[in-house]
Subunit: 159 residues, 2 copies
DNA sequence: GTGGTTCTTGGTAGAATGTACCAAACGGAG
DNA sequence: CTCCGTTTGGTACATTCTACCAAGAACCAC
């Protein structure tokens, strides 16, 4: 189980994934060794699945991004699995969620420019079998792009 | 400008944000000092905006998440700014994008359980002034949740 | 309460790494 | 070619990591 001390570590490591163990220990108020062991535990148990540099999309040359609503014609395992497998392979698709509502899937796609987006649709999206529709919502502005889980919200009573 | 060597560094640091400088230098094929200076440059120029631990949502106790489509009644700066400011303050809102299409905004919200989601709507979303509608699409399954920009895609010709 | 077991803690030291310097190599411009 | 600015690889000191230790806390059965 992830307890309160772990949550403080996670909060800190989400803010600064390259914090030294010493900084981290200081920030959460424990000894370096206790802290280090907890971090290791979180990594080994898979609570922390990795670390990543956060790169500014536009500065890195990716001017265009969009949210796609996708719906499938049929929902047999065959079509669903094929769709999922293809989505996982395409690096332009940063996120993909199966959702309730009109569309079956919400995707977020990031590309270098509009030409690349058109190409993405032509070469990839429109070729996936069994798709009913793909609706593109271009992203006009990124208000917020966070990865940090909200550990500051109240925990449910555990009773 | 971000050139090819930088892209290799970014690719690597997106995969492993805690790679040691030595590992990194080896992976991208340069000396440790050259590599270190480039990383520093990317950080100082803001291409790398930070580092973060990636935490498994469900293992960390956040069972519920949703994508919200939000549309505003009016689009005066007054209402827009208020909405944006409020969204930025709420840690449950991991992502928020202004988009084309029916909804003005797409948000991704993560909470501990359904009760917390209901509370989020009641206490926050439904109290923002000037909102036309909020449509909730519960996330049934996370197919993919990536943060790495697709540097493996073809760069536009620079001419 | 006591005793025993288990889990967690803080301290420490050798190994590994980061970071700032150097002089050398490179690449254009004239 | 020579000059000048930029980027490179190497090195050394300071910092940090990481695996051990024994001591302390928490728990349970009795």
């Amino acid at each position: 189980m992830v307890e309160e001390q772990d949550e403080r570590i996670l909060t800190e490591l989400q803010k600064n994934g390259r914090a030294t163990n010493q900084e981290l220990a200081e920030a959460v108020g424990m000894s370096t060794s206790a802290c280090w062991r907890r971090v290791r535990g979180l990594e080994e148990s898979g609570v922390i699945s990795g670390y990543s540099a956060l790169v500014e999309r536009e500065r890195a040359g990716f001017a265009t991004s969009a949210i796609l609503h996708v719906s499938l014609e049929r929902h047999d395992a065959k079509f669903v699995d094929e769709f999922v497998a293809r989505v996982k392979r395409r690096s332009e698709v940063l996120e993909c969620f199966a959702t309730t509502g009109d569309a079956d899937y919400h995707l977020r796609v990031v590309v270098r420019d509009m030409h690349a987006y058109n190409q993405f649709l032509d070469e990839f999206m429109f070729r996936v079998p069994g798709i009913r529709y793909v609706r593109t919502n271009m992203i006009l502005k990124e208000i917020k792009t966070g990865v940090a889980l909200p550990f500051d919200t109240r925990r449910p009573r555990k009773d």
